[in-house]
Amino acid sequence: MGKQMTEMLKGTLEGIVLALLTGNPAYGYEITTLLREKGFSDIAEGTVYALLVRIEQKGLVDVEKRPSEKGPPRKVYTLNAQGDEYLEEFWRTWSFLAQRLEQLRDGGN
């Protein structure tokens, strides 16, 4: 993954992960796999994990520990009401930013 891509993803990955969790509770490894399927092919498991710790601390997800066949219990993340609200704001901000950038590219300002 290019350096620029990494930098840009930093500010948006939180929203991307919350969007993926909408109506679809998942655990860490599943989320990484899902991201890779969506084209974020070089994303590291640890990056996603660090982000999940953060959104849990912020209270945007509910967490449930479920036993797994191999390895330690898995933490399953479900988007909660606060997370929904946060995601809505994320999309509003994203639309604003994308629109402004497109205008700049078209030579307007």
Binding site: M1, K10, A44, G46, T47, A50, S68, P72
Partner: protein, 123 residues
């Protein structure tokens, strides 16, 4: 209380116990994961300057969770920590910044600027 002065000398006994448990967990990991987690622990404790034992232990336990899960699914180390392990360590660390010594200085800076702002308001 007796516990009070002992812990002042030795640090929290409970946290020492938690740290020993963390060490026991990492010993169970396959050698390559163990090498990687030890290296991360070193970096996180050096760079992190976390002064709250509670926060430090929580961070290490979260790290152990990640590595146990990755070992169970056989995720290669490079896919766990990414192309830039320092970047990963620092992103990870941000989640535990409440225990960092530097926070006192951040607060001091904020307060200093705020007091200047208030003075500016006076006509």
């Amino acid at each position: 209380m007796a516990m009070g002065w002992i812990e002042q000398v030795t640090g929290s006994l409970e946290q020492k116990k938690q740290y020993r448990q963390y060490k026991a967990r990492t010993k169970q990991l396959p050698a390559n994961y163990r090498t990687a987690i030890d290296a991360l622990e070193r970096y996180l404790t050096y760079f992190g300057a976390i002064t709250k034992g509670e926060t430090l232990v929580k961070m290490l336990e979260d790290l152990a969770d990640l590595f146990e899960q990755s070992a169970a699914t056989g995720t290669p180390i490079r896919e766990v920590v990414g192309e830039d392990p320092v970047e990963f360590a620092e992103t990870f660390l941000q989640n535990y910044s409440e225990g960092q010594w530097i926070n006192k200085e951040r607060k001091r800076l904020n307060e200093a600027i705020e007091s200047v702002r208030k003075e500016e308001e006076v006509p």
